[in-house]
Symmetry: C2
Subunit: 412 residues, 2 copies
């Protein structure tokens, strides 16, 4: 795929976006319904294409966990169509009026919520992302350019073909079929046609996009999430939450990676937790004080920075709430952080001073997710402070425009 | 100034931001009042430092228009202190609750407006920007790192000294005193400490920042603004608006640079406009059809793209509203665009389809400005779609945070 082909895709997307911006909520909901039905009725096509991708992946000796992410079956297709149908119920933000006022010179000003235009999403090999992104962009009246992982190429082609057949607006969803990063790099230069880039995936992919993009980027995903067990934490509840946040699904961005423990509670908590972590096959790396209480490897400076995405936890004992907050703000990735405490004042201090997209008291970090937050599907979890923070649903996929009505006003 | 010194400034700013985030609206308003008073009472210090900068500029044979931008006098200091006082009256967005709901598992979720943290602003040699940025950041509870133009260094140092003396929180405002772009480049790598970068200035500066920043950037400023005179535009009103938008202040981003005219109205409009433009010393560059009506230089492809910031206008005759919109979306910089028309349907089409931060009907483009929009001071005019669009006041200088209160909830 050469530069001209990618530019053509982007130009067609821009043209489609103008048509998409004219759709009413009712029209968009009808298209979403048709999209879900098209996938539902033609699931054989999807499964056939997916079998091809799985076969290729097996021949390449892909890790079973990655093959599992790639694999579709009837249940997963049901989940995908349900997720599209869920968006029909969600509020349409396009056209919302944010500000309406008359300026001193009698100009009538309206600030309105409008579509972005063209949104490019670069992601890895989970085919459900192809559907979520397409449906979210459609409902927010933007055209989507999708660059999925090479391993899912046949599945993605089949899905995009079916979704496209369900919408009357040509080029609403387009796939970049190229298999290398050169194509991605070229896409990132097309700031004339593409209004927003969202990378979804590992740190490597996100860094590559951030460094090469001339188009504004929303960063998603990296989660070096902490749980801080305060002096007054209830031990039984703390253990239940820590085990859930660490082990319920260890490969995801909202899993806990670090545990900070107030020194007053360290001994009883860690002794009990140790057994539970071992039962769940979690490797422990601890600070020196932790090593005085339980048997574990010594944590290094690198450990405090690392998002393991694995059954590993690093534990640090801290003397004060203040030091826990300082540690989190220094090493965290501004994704999700939690305090376990019965002290209301300490919870408020933690809420006020920890710098992250989502801050919890007395609950697992695993809830930071568009669906859990009631947004229907999400296009990613923003870890930056610009534009959107935390799980991004339909509202995050809009921008604004000032419309000013005059009667001949000039500036003096 | 070396990397260590710049990193130290950034670290101190981060520390200050934590203290700033604790201030109440009342406390911040009191500080703003003290800041204005400090400048007011010590204006001699500012004028003395400014005289030094002016002398240096004259020795370097700086253009009179640039010297004028740099120069302060009592009236200008009055305007600066008034602008700070205006912010006292403006709403404080910090702490606003955007969403409050109970999730299905009884988690209590609150989405709150919170400070950015540390904001870096890179600008040219207008000393009033130093005051506006400091005051805006203070009221929105963020620490400011300022990198102003070298030519204003003495003035900026004097101003920052006075502003700092008025706030109880050390390092709320810090100036990078270095005189080269190397310092800017180093600042742009400090994504651990700086949360947002706003470049204010010409295209060169903005491109430099966008290409070198690891920190999220909001682009401001470039305005290749169009006025489209539709078939039904009133000729007398159209001329009044075009002359105002082009000549009232030609060196600013919201001045009109291009005129598109519907062919039905071209002859009577251009014949009258020609005389007026000549009276105002405006150079005309026209398309071939324009050249058939009035005497002017032929406009090239380059002209359609250029932001002149000068007494030059390029004119193109178009056969339809549709073609005017296509031209604007192709060559505009998404800043400010205007339609002159009596046809309500055409105005709505223009509003809906023109892709810009501010779109006007029957008024001069010159009103796109934080102060005109009633925001008090502005930190710049965003021409991107991410985060903020158009003039950015206090609300644009905030981000959000999800706070989730639990009672032991875990994910199943």
């Amino acid at each position: 795929m050469n530069m001209t082909e990618i530019t053509d895709i982007a130009k067609r997307a821009k043209k489609a976006s103008r048509e998409l911006s004219k759709l009413t909520t009712q029209q968009k909901n009808k298209i979403l319904k048709d999209m879900a039905e098209s996938l539902d009725k033609n699931r054989k096509d999807i499964l056939k294409a997916n079998a091809k991708d799985i076969k290729n992946a097996e021949q390449k000796n892909m890790k079973p966990s990655l093959i599992d992410r790639l694999k579709l079956n009837n249940t997963r297709i049901d989940q995908i169509t349900e997720s599209i149908k869920e968006l029909i119920k969600q509020k349409d933000y396009i056209g919302d009026i944010i500000t309406k006022k008359t300026l001193k010179n009698n100009l009538k000003l309206t600030e309105k919520r409008v579509p972005f235009g063209v949104i490019g999403v670069i992601y890895e090999s989970r085919p459900n992302v192809t559907c979520d992104v397409s449906a979210l962009c459609l409902k927010s009246s933007s055209a989507a350019i999708l660059k999925g992982g090479t391993d899912a190429i046949n599945t993605n082609k089949a899905i995009i073909k079916l979704l496209s057949s369900a919408t009357p607006i040509k080029d609403s969803f387009q796939l970049i079929e190229s298999t290398d990063r050169k194509a991605t790099k070229e896409m990132l230069r097309l700031e004339t046609y593409i209004d927003l880039i969202i990378p979804r995936g590992g740190k490597n992919l996100i860094d590559f996009v951030r460094l090469n993009s001339k188009i504004p980027v929303i960063e998603t995903g990296t989660g070096n999430c902490h749980i801080y067990a305060d002096k007054s934490a209830g031990i039984t509840q703390a253990i239940k939450i820590i085990i859930n946040a660490k082990t319920q699904r260890s490969g995801v961005c909202n899993a806990a990676e670090k545990l900070l423990v107030h020194e007053h509670i360290a001994k009883p908590l860690l002794e009990k937790l140790d057994k539970q972590l071992k039962t769940h096959n979690v490797e422990i790396r601890g600070c020196k004080k932790t090593q005085n209480i339980i048997k574990c490897i010594q944590a290094t400076e690198d450990d405090w920075r690392t998002e393991y995405l694995d059954l590993i936890i690093a534990i640090k004992i801290v003397p004060t709430l203040e030091q826990a907050i300082t540690h989190i703000n220094q090493y965290g990735t501004k994704h999700t952080e939690a305090i376990l405490s019965k002290n209301k004042k300490n919870i408020e201090t933690f809420f006020q001073q920890v710098d992250a997209s989502a801050v919890y008291s007395n609950a697992s970090t695993r809830f930071t997710d568009g669906s859990e937050f009631g947004m229907g599907a999400e296009i990613g979890i923003s870890t930056q402070k610009l534009h959107a923070r935390g799980p991004m649903g339909l509202k995050a996929l809009t921008t604004t425009k000032y419309l000013i009505r005059g009667e001949g006003q000039i500036r003096t």
